[in-house]
Amino acid sequence: MSLEKKIRNFLQGPRKGEAYELKSGLVSQYKHERKDAIQRVIQAMTLGKDVSSLFPDVLKNIATYDLEQKKLVYLYLMNYAKTHPELCILAVNTFVQDTEDPNPLIRALAIRTMGCIRVNKMVDYMEIPLQRTLKDENPYVRKTAAICVAKLFDLNPQVCIEFGFLDDLKNLVNDGNPMVISNALNSLYEINDLNKSKDLDILIINYDLIKNLLLVLNECTEWGRITVLKCLNDYNCNSAEEANLIIQRVIPQLQHINPAIVLSSIKTILKHNQLLQKASQDANLKKLSSPLISLISNPIPEAQYVGLKNIRIILEKYPDILSKELRVFFIKYSDPLYLKLEKLDIMIRLSNENNFNLLLNELKEYSMEFEPSLIKKSIKSIGLIAIKLPTSIIKCINLIIELIDNRGGELIINESINCLTTILRKYPGKNDLITLILPIISNNFKIDEATHESIMSYIWLMGEYPNYFTGLTKILSSLWENNFNEFNNEIKLIWLNSIIKINLNKNLNNEIYSNLLQKTLNEITENCDDIDLRDKAYIYWRLLSVNDEQLTDKIILHKLPPIDSVIKNFSPQILNELINELGTLSTIYGKPSSTFIEAPSNEIKQVTEEKEIKDENLLDFDDEEEEGGTTTKNENILDELSDLFTNNSKSETDDILNLFNEMNITQPSQPSQTSSQSSQPSNSKNIDDLLDLF
């Protein structure tokens, strides 16, 4: 469409209705009618109505001495510039004039609006106004112009660099005014993220800058402080003195009411703390505990949640930092469920020999609550404590028994079975535990009310400890007759393992077992749709027909090593990345930002004196990755894998994966002992099984 035609189209506009009324108001010969119309247009705009068709007529009202009206027209312009890019040029004259206005408010408003009009044509006209406002005598105007540079860079990096705006912006980092400094920093960071060219120096952090930032930190606005803290965090100190100075200046920020500032401060302190002597490190860490607790005293539950997510990461790196603060995390009746679950997670991490009694009492109460996921997680947590703290084990088991006796019900029983089975995986073959646990399970397991997981636990236990079951033949025959066909492949796999183990058990000699084995092998090899499962049945079959007792014992009856802690942890590399991204979205996702946003092509540059020591370059993960060797890489791959599966829409797999993510207990027959592998889907699990066995 030709320009002329376009313009004619705009001019036609509506002939009646509200839009028409507004349009005639906007071009009225009476001043007050025009203003009235503008107010109504803005009102409609804020209500979400599309009033973009009025663009040319609203624009006519931009050149006015009425500040209120000007603000409204600017507001409109920012909102709709994209709908009429070619008309924006008509506003240029006014913008340019306004950036020379005696009133700094108008100057700032003009440059701000100009920057927010993301229309390419505008770029050509920004030179003079932006140059002028970046050097304005008024700091309010300068700080506004500073942000504008990043917006221009986004539209057209070339122009931004050629006209020297980037250099002007760099100079503003040394401005006398804190707001200007923090905005300039912010803008430079933004440009750094936008930048695609490898050889452009954007933000150079040196000690002089740091010293200056430390001076202004206290005078900055809240957002400004966060930016300044980010920069302080990005700096790599050359000496313990530098680190100490930064830490001492940042410590007062820990008292700030804004949790984002508290988190940024904690992050900065944690980073530079590593350069200090052990004693000072510990002293500084102590100072972090009450700010951390302040995060969860926030009245807004969402803010508490963010606090908890960050605490969870910090705790993993510094487990002792809140060791005396368990009570703070006790669940409040009024907490939303997501807070309750998150708090449980933290409490488990804080559990130790001294406080587990207290914690178990709490868990008992939570298990009597009504939200199923809270009950489930509470029971799981009891198991986690038993595994983490061997001295607690009898107490934990007794608590579970108590729960079953006092409350019972499908949910509690199924979860308890899983939990007890996991405890046995940690302490395999301990007679006293087995005799304590197995009767509870066989007394309470009801196939009709069982979940997949509890069925798996149950069948696995029969294979592992057949002697402790009374009436095993009956139980097995009944399961075969009535339930086997409804089992999913995972349960069938465990059934296959267990039935073979029972047959190889020299104390159990019964035709029923060998019959069941034969039927199982027949059924799976003939009718099973899962290749891995079928293959596994074939292999067992072959193995049995070879009749080499030693070999079968070695492969099938091989005892698994006890499981380790089942509390989910990050790999060390990921943990370091997350620690460095405290207070950002990464902590909520539990993933480094590089996994969900594109990394800037440029690292923030730093000019350091010669004495820089490479090992202390804590920011540089690329280096670490190279040095870290295979383990880190492996974990990376696994992490990616589990990412893949988190997106898996098959709900069944999802559920199971979630279970594994929370706690690796639900698949007892899983012979592979590395907990990280359990997040693979069943198919590859089977392959793993085989590989491990051979």
């Binding site: 010969q29 001043k31 006209y125």
Partner: protein, 185 residues
């Protein structure tokens, strides 16, 4: 929605606001439009930059409130002139009388504009500007170059002017006021 502001409306109508008469100043870039606008408004010669967009000023002239729009004359902006045509009482067309090379273009733009339906009733005042410069075409020569005599059914006039010296401007405006005041009030 209109209710909210109706009080101001009545109040404004009664006491403050007068009906404004819309006047457009058009012409090629560099003709002196912006200089004329501010000379009329402030009585001073201002330093101008090319007008990317427009200026608008309100001024009282002989008890009338004039709303004078000075639109940029660059080739790139001329297509947007038409955005401003509606409700226009008069057009002041400014010609740089020393710019003989572009007077044909000026003529073409003038006639193109006058063909627009929205401007059929508008009066036309032409300033043959920059008369203070040596070699400037006279008003009669400009009139001829612009083919003004061809204009039918329109009140028009051409006045020799110098925005810098302030000559001819009030004379032209006086004529314009005479023509339009009957229609507007």
């Amino acid at each position: 929605m209109g209710q909210t502001f109706s009080f101001t409306n009545i109040f404004g109508k009664l006491f403050y606001t007068q009906k404004e008469i819309r006047i457009l100043i058009l012409g090629l870039d560099g003709a002196g439009k912006t200089t004329i606008l501010y000379r009329l408004q402030m009585g001073e010669v201002v330093t101008t930059k090319p007008t990317i967009g427009f200026n608008v000023e309100t001024l009282k002239y002989k008890n009338l409130t004039l709303n004078i729009w000075d639109l940029g004359g660059q080739t790139s902006i001329r297509p947007y002139w038409r955005c401003y045509y509606s409700n226009t009482a008069a057009v002041i067309f400014v010609v740089d009388s020393t710019d003989k090379d572009r007077i044909d273009i000026a003529s073409k733009e003038l006639h193109l504009m006058l063909k627009e339906e929205e401007l059929l009733d508008s009066a036309l005042l032409v300033f043959a500007n920059k008369q203070d410069q040596p070699g400037a075409l006279t008003a009669a020569e400009v009139s001829q170059a612009l083919n003004l005599t061809e204009l039918k059914d329109r009140s028009w006039s051409i006045v020799a002017s110098s925005a810098i010296k302030g000559e001819g401007l009030t004379e032209g405006l006086d004529w314009l006021m005479d023509v339009i005041k009957d229609e507007q009030l």
